[in-house]
């Protein structure tokens, strides 16, 4: 509330009894920081600042570590607890809960981050130890000015938003809807189904992707609690956990959804044929009005104004779809415009999936230049009985079956020129494709791999099976795919795969008819903007960042926003389904709880000190500050306040207090960090 100098105040207040705990985190902290020295610094050097005991322990977050704190609170009457360990974003909750259990207000517990901010980022042991001491000193001074707070409770809206209708999003949406809660599923494409709908077979059991996916899609389409918004995108998210307001932009289909029966006559009659870059991966065609695939849900066509004659050549031309539409009224509406709808939801599941790595970015593999270089997705569509070749595997001419095929793994993955990470699915996808090529064409197949990663149930068995089927495996990174023979002894008209075979230690040039690039997977091209919309961040590689890489890969740093599927990182279908189900479980837990406890970080105005200058009035983006003209003072609505503290920092009279991050706490922390709380003789060097 006030930013008066510190020294005066403490003497007036009751003497605090502070317990300091320094965590080793195994060797994570203790390997770099002299933990004992930090303990003694707090216990001896800061005795005068209210530290009554100082301990170090191997794992403070363990049950034993927590019990240690609880016991000390009871036995030593601690009034403040300072834990020097990891980032508060990881274990603040753990230690606050421990304090709460022992009867100490949880907000009187302070974390000093000496792992992420010291031990893990510094190598000089002395400098790291000195910095750790300063951070502990800052936390102690800050804790002296902490005050007991109560969490703020808000109700949770039982409706949920799921973004993305791939397998992960479908799983999450269905599980929540099955529990009887309303779910809005927003999908950018005209149909749900995602990438899985493009596949032919799924590894390792080789069941048909459509056979196992279609029932889920159909269920989503007809579920009484599940509301589909396909061909739609989330534009804006406002509010906070429990009470989000989401604006969804529905793109025009130019088809009346509630009239169209999905009979398909319009598609049949449409004279415009264009390459289908989306569902058919560029090797098949679609009409200007089209259904992405036969099992699409909802079973509605969508008109593409960029290729439709009506839009290209002016009104009055063509209109075949409209002329032949049998419904009454006519389902075609050329004047449809985009619409915006608002949804109120309590929780959000983000399952926005991935983009395929663009193989054109590796020119030495020739994709886009050499006709018989294909991507895995092109081959996937070729294998599919409903695909452009009716299930036949052919060269680009559409007729000739290849006699030899090279499948290159890790295209765009595990390569510092493109993506450092492993795409997780390419090994198994390449094995699956090798099997399908062998099975359908009998061609010689060479798989070029760096490492074969066939972890998880039944995967390695599948690898053994493919080996037994006579597929050749060459361990080495392919340097180039070239159509130019090296010498007169090499035949023209072949593709030469130049590779170092690291198992036999030589360079090889393997002639093949067809090359398949097993492209990796990448974050969605617009993941960053989507992240901004939902208030979550992307990692350096572009995947959405989960709350904790191991212990909480479902949640995000933004309360109420959960992740499922490849949006969080590369994963296969079983893992995506598991994560979708896990996200659903989290949401259901929230709905079941009915209300949420929020951090009590809020601003408030002392009416006695407020002069009514109205500087703060324009600063709050949540409109939490109002002016009482009669009383001549401003006031803050704590239900609307989000706790950013901007008004606290702006008030010229110092009349606005910010709980949790008060001026006293911050100023005291500065003193602590700069060690002005020590006598000069004790100052650290």
């Amino acid at each position: 509330m006030t930013d008066q100098p510190q020294q005066h105040q403490q003497e007036q207040g009751q003497e605090e009894r502070i317990g300091v705990y320094v965590c080793h985190c195994g060797t994570n902290i203790a390997g770099v920081i002299d933990v004992g020295s930090v303990r003694d610094f707090a216990g001896e050097g800061l005795k005068g600042r209210g530290v009554v005991l100082s301990r170090d322990y191997t794992f403070m977050c363990s049950t034993t570590g927590q019990e240690l704190i609880q016991k000390d609170i009871a036995e030593h009457g601690l009034t403040r607890v300072v834990v020097a360990a990891c980032s508060p974003h990881l274990h603040e909750g753990t230690f606050r809960t421990a304090c709460d259990r022992a009867g100490l207000n949880p907000y009187l517990c302070e974390l000093a981050s000496i792992r992420e901010h010291v031990a893990w980022v510094h190598t000089d042991h002395d400098a790291a130890t000195t910095k750790a001491k300063a951070i502990v000193s800052g936390a102690i001074e800050r804790a002296r000015h902490s005050v007991p707070l109560e969490a703020i409770h808000v109700p949770v809206d039982a409706a949920t938003l799921v973004v993305g209708g791939g397998i992960a999003g479908l799983q999450a949406a269905l599980e929540i809807a099955d529990a009887g809660h309303e779910v809005y599923l927003v999908e950018r494409e005209p149909s749900v189904g995602g990438h899985m709908a493009q596949f032919d077979k799924t590894f390792p059991t080789l069941d048909c992707a459509a056979c196992i996916l279609t029932p889920k899609m159909a269920a989503a389409g007809s579920h009484p609690h599940l509301h589909l918004h396909t061909w739609s995108e989330v534009e804006k998210v406002e509010g906070f956990v429990g009470n989000f307001t989401v604006t969804v932009r529905r793109k025009p289909r130019y088809v009346l959804e509630d009239v169209c029966t999905g009979c398909g006559i319009c598609i049949e009659k449409c004279p415009v044929v264009v390459v289908d870059d989306a569902y058919e991966a560029g090797i098949g065609y679609r009409k200007a009005i089209y259904m992405p695939f036969p099992q699409a849900v909802p079973k509605l066509p969508v008109l593409d104004p960029d290729t439709c004659t009506y839009y290209l050549k002016g009104k009055g031309s063509c209109r075949a779809c409209e002329k032949f539409c049998p419904t009454e009224p006519n389902s075609i509406d050329f004047n449809q415009t985009e619409q915006r709808i608002n949804l109120r939801v309590g929780n959000i599941v983000l399952a926005t999936g991935f983009d395929l790595f663009d193989a054109r970015r590796i020119p030495q593999y020739g994709y886009g230049r050499l006709p018989n270089v294909f991507t895995n997705l092109e081959l996937e569509r070729m294998c599919n009985a409903s695909g452009p070749t009716g299930g036949a595997i052919t060269l680009r001419d559409g007729r000739t079956a290849p006699k030899s095929v090279g499948i290159i793994h890790c295209v765009g993955s595990r390569d510092r020129n493109y993506n450092n990470y492993c795409s997780a699915i390419c090994c198994m996808q390449s094995l699956k494709l090798a099997h399908l090529v062998r099975e359908r064409t009998g061609a010689e197949v060479h798989n070029f791999y760096i490492d074969l990663r066939t972890a998880f149930k039944d995967y390695d068995e599948f690898y053994q099976r493919v080996l037994d089927e006579g597929v050749h495996f060459v361990r080495g990174k392919v340097a180039e795919v070239s159509e130019v023979p090296r010498g007169p002894d090499e035949a023209e008209g072949k593709l030469y795969v130049q590779v170092e075979d690291t198992l036999i230690g030589m360079q090889r040039r393997i002639p093949v008819d067809m090359v398949v690039l097993s492209a990796g997977i990448e974050p969605r091209h617009d993941a960053k903007q989507v992240g901004q919309t939902f208030g979550i961040a992307c990692s350096a590689n572009g995947w959405f960042i989960e709350k904790h890489a191991k212990l909480d890969p479902i949640s995000t740093m933004t309360e109420g926003v959960f992740l499922a599927g490849c949006a969080q990182g590369p994963k296969d279908i079983p893992a995506s389904v598991s994560q979708g189900a896990a996200a659903a479980a989290r949401v259901l837990m929230r709905i079941r709880q009915g209300e949420l406890a929020l951090e009590p970080v809020r601003a408030s105005i002392d009416a006695e000190r407020c002069s009514g200058c109205r500087i703060c009035n324009a600063l709050c983006p949540f409109n939490a500050i109002s002016y009482d003209a009669a009383g001549g003072v401003s006031a803050i609505n704590s239900a609307l306040c989000q706790g950013c503290g901007t008004c606290v920092a702006a008030c010229p009279a110092g009349a606005i207090a910010g709980s949790g991050f008060s001026n006293e706490q911050v100023l005291a922390q500065i003193e602590g960090l700069l060690l002005t709380n020590l006598e000069p003789a004790e100052a650290l060097t």
Partner: protein
């Protein structure tokens, strides 16, 4: 002198972006100079010039202010307030003879651990090149010449 001088720097971070960037730098084990001691605030909009002046007055050689990128603020646009305060404070500090470079404002998203680490390294070197600030310590509590209780006899 310059070689032995290890600057002491106070860094202000926001809970949503830059503090998390520091966390990411940690979890990815990036290495950077140990001279910056961080304070977590909820938002860079919480930055009060008082905090910066307090840090300088109490012995910091530099102050690093960090927040979410413009447009990325968790609280929509409060980082612009930090930007404005920083620019005004810079002007005043320049008049007081404090090199504006000592108080640096930078943006870092939660994903930018590497950028955050590199920014710290660069800033530490910049402050090192400027040399110590060594603001004179605040006056110590004063010895009272006499501590006269308001004596009874002084009153009639």
């Amino acid at each position: 002198m310059a070689n032995d001088f290890e600057p002491v720097i106070i860094g202000f971070t926001c809970n949503w972006c830059s503090y998390r960037a520091a966390d990411v730098a940690g979890t990815t084990r990036l290495k950077y100079a140990p001279n910056v001691r961080l304070i977590r605030l909820m938002c860079s909009g919480r930055i009060d010039p008082t905090f910066v002046l307090k840090a300088l007055a109490d012995g910091a050689d530099g102050v690093l202010i960090t927040g979410c990128h413009p447009g990325d603020c968790h609280y929509l646009e409060q980082n612009y307030k930090a930007l404005r305060r920083h620019r005004l404070l810079q002007r005043t500090l320049a008049q007081l003879g404090v090199e504006p470079e000592r108080v640096h404002l930078t943006w870092a998203s939660a994903a930018e651990g590497a950028i955050f680490a590199a920014t710290i390294d660069r800033f530490v070197e910049r402050v090192r090149a400027l040399g110590p600030l060594r603001w004179p310590a605040r006056p110590k509590p004063l010895p009272v010449a006499v501590a006269p209780e308001l004596a009874e006899e002084a009153l009639p």
